[in-house]
Amino acid sequence: MGTLFDATFFDTMIASVAVGSLYALIALGYTMVYGILKFINFAHSDVFVLGAWTAFTTTTALIAWTGLSAAGAPWWLGPIVLGVAMVVCGVTAFCIERFAYRPLRKAPRLNVLITAIGVSLLLQNFNQLPPAPGLARTATVSFPFGPTPKTMPELLPDVILNESIIATGTLGGGERRGQVLLDRAVTVLPGRTYRLDVTRQTEAGPVVARFNLNNPPVGEVQAGTPLVTQPLRPPAEMQGLAYVLVQVPAVTIRLVDVAIVGTAAVLMVGLLWLVFRTRLGAAMRAVSFSIENAALMGVNVNFVISFTFVLGACLAAAAGFLYPIKYPSLQQPASDVWVLLGLKAFVAAVVGGIGNIRGAVLGGFLIAFIEFFGETYLSATIGSGLQDIYVFTTLILVLLLRPAGLLGTPVREKV
């Protein structure tokens, strides 16, 4: 055991913040709709799944149609894919509200709830139907998305932002397979990981291959000392190639995580601004307090409700876009993996105080922290793989001790 704030701690922290921001994005949609219509939109997590699959399909299609290489996607691909996912999810959510929920606006709440479950099942099962013959352009790009898991192409290179280059130069070939010689002296620290990035010129341009250094000697390593790289390549192949020797930090900050947290943060700050600082946001909060009295102010209530659904769906689409960037293996739309993710985001909304926007953000991060820190620090004593138990135990405790959620206040009206 190291100190409390060791690499494990910070790794867990980074994972919690990244996944927490995704939970928060989804939880916001649950909480906004609840705030206005006082019912749980069970189809919301399926809109998130739709976002993930739309992101996958758009990425694969764009890569196929533009002939880009799957490895080096240009930076502008991400924003386009995000935009498409938002439009698809926004339109879907608009239609769900317009055609499934609005006709039931004055019906008992239970009817709407059952309808929401129905819409959820419809989306799940429709989305994983086998592709319609006319729409199956390639093996991977299809609509509906089909019942098989897929792998998201790399939208962002897997870059560690805080790694440091400790040497560059030209490689010499060693005597045995896997052996290379460096042309300069380097200092190798104990307990650290080192990586050798080797550039080979090909007809299509330079290609970088990554090798790990297997147990390099610790301390001052003289030029010409043979080092063993993994995977093992014949020395002749490595001879004369340009190399970059990289020291991998104990706590790695990856571009993927920074991009996820950054995108989510921008969206959440934008949402808070919209809801708490604009005229439309005031109208949204007014509608959530009283639909009738908001209409008396001249607020077009139907527009505000549609807008709220679309806004929630756009945030869910963003979460759906970001999730497979971090976890590229995409389960089929009706998989219970998605159900569990949606459920945790819902728990986040409830724990934060359903109907409360800041509560959803707080709940999202809190649930992820409990999930990841529980798994990291309690698995040795209690057992591993129990992260979901920690999450739902938290839910039960919060409901017992603060039924309105952490930031939810039971509304009291003065007479």
Binding site: E292, N293, A295, M297, V299, V415
Partner: protein, 237 residues
């Protein structure tokens, strides 16, 4: 032509026939009061004018045009604004945001700022509480907020639903004084009240509602003097 003409209006809530035959004329520049006991259909009449319920019979003409079927948010834009029964302030919004929503339909921001200032000088108590959540105001302050908010729409016709309900006598006096001032500055008012005594004092014209029907109407002073009204609504035997 009357500013508002409610003619033989009928409203159902499901199977309940809430108002059967209500007729009210509101002339430009007047205060018209609608008095009647609890459940007579006063609120329902205002709700029908504002577009919150759909009439099942009769008609509502505003400046000669029928309002039937228009959604509430469009009726506000035509110049009718309502301070609803029970005040209907947004407890989860600040006083300033509530006032801002009163002016939701307006784009003339400079004039809105002026009107806001004017409303706050009518109700100085609100000025001190601009940043406070409306839910934390006292009942009287909430009523002031509801009236100020309705005024910020710059209505031609202001509908007030029991503005004196639940207020201390002094506050009631204040509210009625302000109602008169608002009218004197040019706003036509349709005032619903159970406090017939006060309502008949400020109004030009009055209509009595009994179980969903308008039974009496005439100049407020005449009604205040009539035996029927004195017996039923003014507590004189």
């Amino acid at each position: 032509m009357a500013l508002l003409e409610i003619d033989n209006l009928s409203v159902h809530y499901g199977a309940i026939h809430a108002i059967k035959s209500v007729s009210v004329r509101v002339e430009q520049g007047q205060i018209v009061t609608l008095i009647g006991s609890n459940g007579a259909g006063k609120t329902t009449t205002l709700r029908a004018v504002s577009g919150m319920v759909r009439p099942t019979g009769g008609r509502v003409l505003y400046q000669g045009r029928p309002l039937a079927g228009l959604p509430a948010h469009k009726i506000v834009r035509m110049g009718i604004s309502q301070a609803p029964e029970g005040r209907g302030v947004f407890a989860n919004l600040t006083v300033r945001e509530n006032l801002g929503l009163g002016a939701y339909i307006r784009k003339d921001h400079a004039a809105v700022a002026q009107d806001m200032d004017k409303a706050l000088s009518i109700f100085p108590r609100l000025r001190e509480r601009l940043g406070q959540m409306a839910g934390t105001l006292s009942g009287g302050e909430q009523q002031m907020l509801a009236i100020a908010r309705a005024l910020l729409a710059r209505p031609r016709l202001l509908l007030l639903d029991e503005p004196s309900l639940g207020l201390a006598p002094q506050m009631v006096q204040l509210i009625f004084r302000i109602i008169r001032e608002i009218n004197q500055s040019g706003t036509t008012i349709l005032l619903v009240e159970q406090n017939a005594h006060m309502a008949l004092q400020v109004a030009h014209h009055a209509v009595v509602l009994e179980v969903g029907q308008s039974t009496l109407s005439g100049p407020a002073a005449d009604l205040a003097a009539s035996d029927e009204v004195r017996k039923a609504y003014l507590g004189h035997g």
